[in-house]
Amino acid sequence: MSSNQNILVKLKDAGFKINDKWLVQGVSLQVEKGKIVTLIGPNGSGKSTTAKIALGIYKKVEGEVEKFTNKVGYVPQKISIDWTLPLRVNDFMVLTENLKSETINEALSLTGVIHLKDKNLGDLSGGEFQRVLLARAISKKPDLLVLDEPVQGVDFTGEIALYELIKKISDELNCGILLISHDLHTVMSATDHVVCLNGHVCCSGSPIDVAKNDEYKALFGEQASQILSRYEHKHDHIHTDEGKIKKN
């Protein structure tokens, strides 16, 4: 663990309940500068809730939540834009912070949607909108990025490119990333720390440690071990020409 100055957000035994029903409880984790922390777990295991606790969206929270930065970029899991708002991509980019035109163009180019700049937000496809969401979150050069399934609906090649971009941003901006993803390949290859949730923290640690953990195996079952073995198999094959997937 690195020194305290590097910590961007810290949860200690945090939990949240609505009407006496716990959405998630007993979560401890911290996101540091330059590190990627990934939350995995089945549907309804409290991943998005944990992200919202860390972001301060949920206010009446059990346990301790400390956020050390206000420069935050957030890609929510669900977002619906109302048709009553005439909103172009360009207007959406400056939603929470005023940015220079070059900064906007740069971010939109990185996620491959610069050609959509003057389009109405309502006219975008799901994948295009997802790329705009990611561009908006990174354009303000945040200290902390919270990405809740950031590549949902993006095509296969785009998905790989965007995950590479996320990894690159984490290195270049030295920002901390809290990532929620169902793609175990990515989790295993790009993440520094994995937290496996199922209403509480099942297990956590480096990707390799978590993959070996019995509780993880019990939770994800046959499928996970298959994916993991497929991952290792794939790693052997694409190691020479791409080398993207590194084994720690």
Partner: protein, 267 residues
Amino acid sequence: MFDDFFIRALVAGIGVALVTGPLGCFVIWRRLSYFGDTLAHSALLGVTLAFTMEFNIALSVFIISSLIALTLIQLQKRTNLPGDALLGLLAHSSLAVGLVVIGFLTFIRFDIMGLLFGDILAVTVDDLLIIWIGGAIILLILKLIWKPLFASTVNYELAEAEGLNPDRAKAIFTILMAAIIAISIKMVGLLLITGMLIIPAAMARNISTSPQKMVVYSIIGGLLSVILGLFSSLEFNTSSGPSIITAALLLFILSLFKIKQTIKLKN
């Protein structure tokens, strides 16, 4: 120059339209039409209290409307009734109580029609001051909270996560709504104020491609409605409020032709 009642009415109307333009856009975006109506209905109670206690009308309406808005927020938290039922409850009960109080005030002659539908003859130089100074303050505050208010209108969680404090912006906006109703009640009348907020903004929605454009078109639409409405009010001897709103409706109908064109282009 303000000796002429018509000039006074025109200057007052222009002041009102400059403020209802941008506020009206938020009323549409945030789906607050019936909230505006509720505040406006409660204004009658404010007016009657002003007469009973010999108090400034605009200030009294502002206080009562703000109280009703706060009551609404509390009721939303503490009851299981849906929002529209609570709005209806507050709108009609405050209107009813206002009318009952008027019934008791037999010693004062009331121009109920003027209150409900606006009366250009009633606009005084003091009213002009209230409209222009109050309006300037409303616009200034709206400019200051624009970023968090707009961001939370698009998506509350994004605004909250990225540190914009949307709850505070929403509370301030509620107060601004009460304020615009207070300063424009004499011009448009309490039954039609929400029309002045919604109709020019709705017209603007039909012809705009960005939020900024919608605000500008909404202001222009409001100004045209006031000018057209007041001149016809003079010409046909009709109440000022209904004349202004009818003019706004005509502009809205015109804007439908523009939207028809864009839909055709899309297909």
